[in-house]
């Protein structure tokens, strides 16, 4: 029954926590009844292939879980782009993005009240872009799941032993991670690539220091490594060592990039024109925030890097022994 356990675990990961155990118990008992009857007809226990056929009738675990979560919402433009089963996840990613964007706006309001009205217009544009990207990603997932409902195989789900691994990352976290990585970094990479791009919403004279633009390629590599880690977890969650290796590399690169940017000094500089006292004051405050953020980024990458490296070494040691 290991395949059934894997299937149930995949459904459970995407269920609302308050009813999770009850739903899984019930679903498990119905699957067991289904399999018992098949086994009774055949007069022998079901093979793995036969169990897969039965589980295939229950449908993709994400879709199955979505039906339990479904509040009836959907996104329709002519045809249904995102069905009720994926809608709760779609809403969750949109909410997460909106919260991130609002945090940025709040930071602008705290550090430079004068730039606040401009920041709101930037937020509106960002919100529209994020909405479009997230909608396209989920519409693609919906199309894939509908066209290939049998495209999920329980053997891709980690075994009970692998599930007991305390550092395992839920698949949904990877979907969210990929969406957030793409949305945030597509914008950030475009800023890094455009040398001299004005940072303030009113086209003022603040720009990123040249060192930041020199970090375009290393940062792109960092994003690719993180995407690789999430993608491995999504497609082959049992490949924990590959995923951890990609993440360790990304944390190491993160330490180098953010450390180099911190050591380079001012992150934001003033170009052209006469600076007013208010602008100089704002520049100092912004650079202070950048410095602390870079220190925090180095510390977080160092902490996560050490933790994952230890796990990786322990797993290698266990495999070797």
């Amino acid at each position: 029954m290991e395949l059934v356990d894997r299937y149930l675990k995949a459904v459970k990961d995407s269920l609302p926590p308050e009813h999770r155990d009850d739903i899984i118990d019930e679903l498990g008992s119905n699957i067991a009844a289904h399999m018992d009857e098949k086994a009774g007809e055949l007069g022998r226990p079901l093979t793995d292939a036969e169990q897969r056929v039965v589980l295939g009738q229950f449908g993709h675990p994400v879709v199955m879980a979505g039906k339990y979560r479904s509040g009836g919402g959907s996104v329709v433009f002519g045809r249904q782009l995102i069905g009720p089963e994926l809608f709760p996840f779609y809403l969750r990613v949109l909410t997460l993005n909106a919260i991130l964007a609002l945090l940025v706006i709040a930071a602008v309001a705290i550090f430079d009240l004068a730039a606040f009205p401009g920041a709101i217009s930037v937020f509106v544009v960002q919100a529209v872009v994020q909405f479009a990207i997230v909608t396209v990603i989920f519409a693609m997932i919906q199309t894939h799941v509908q066209k290939f409902p049998e495209s999920w195989d329980p053997k891709w789900q980690p075994s009970a032993e692998q599930q007991a691994e305390p550092r395992r990352t839920p698949r949904f976290e990877s979907v969210t991670g990929i969406a957030v990585l793409l949305i945030v970094n597509l914008w950030f990479l475009s800023v890094l690539r455009t040398s001299g791009a004005r940072l303030s919403a009113d086209n003022g004279n603040f720009v990123l220091a040249p060192m930041w633009h020199e970090m375009f390629l290393p940062y792109l590599l960092l994003v690719m490594l993180e995407l690789t880690g999430h993608t491995i977890n999504l497609i082959r969650p049992e490949w924990t060592r590959f995923r951890w290796a990609a993440l360790v590399a990304s944390y190491g690169l993160g330490i180098i990039i953010f450390g180099a940017l911190f050591l380079a000094g001012a992150s934001v500089i003033f170009i052209g024109g006469q600076s007013t006292g208010h602008e100089i004051e704002t520049l100092q405050r912004v650079n202070l925030v950048f410095s602390w953020s870079l220190i925090a980024a180095v510390a977080v990458n160092l902490f996560l890097g050490v933790r994952k490296t230890r796990l990786l070494l322990r797993r290698s040691h266990e495999s070797g022994g």
Binding site: H19, N30, K67, Y68
Partner: protein, 111 residues
């Protein structure tokens, strides 16, 4: 959207309400998910697992069904049956169904 997609959408819409009626009608006698699905299929109404099991929980949360966990053949199973509210609702829905059915039959005979 091609002809098949259009038909599929309309078919699903048509079935949605009928399935609820069928599930309520079958649960005048107590059953658990798997046997209910079989009973519906035996009567000619095939409903996939991914639709039926979440539907049962929704109907229960609306107070139309009540359930309890019990052991049968050394397995724990969740048995559902109509609640008092469910019985009233079923009677009302059946009345509505008969009105629609009569009207449609009249229209189809005229056509």
């Amino acid at each position: 959207m091609n002809e098949n997609d259009r038909f599929e959408n309309l078919r699903l819409e048509l079935r949605r309400g009928c399935l609820i009626l069928a599930v309520l009608a079958q649960l005048k006698a107590e059953q658990y998910g798997y046997t209910l699905r079989k009973a519906l299929a035996d009567d000619g109404l095939v409903i996939d697992e991914g639709t039926l099991y979440p539907l049962l929980r929704r109907l229960e949360s609306q107070g139309l069904l009540q359930s309890e966990w019990r052991e049968e053949n050394s397995r724990k199973k969740r048995f559902y049956r109509l609640s008092v509210d469910g019985e009233t609702m079923l009677a009302q829905l059946l009345e509505e169904w008969r009105v629609i059915n009569t009207a449609l039959n009249t229209m189809l005979q005229e056509a």
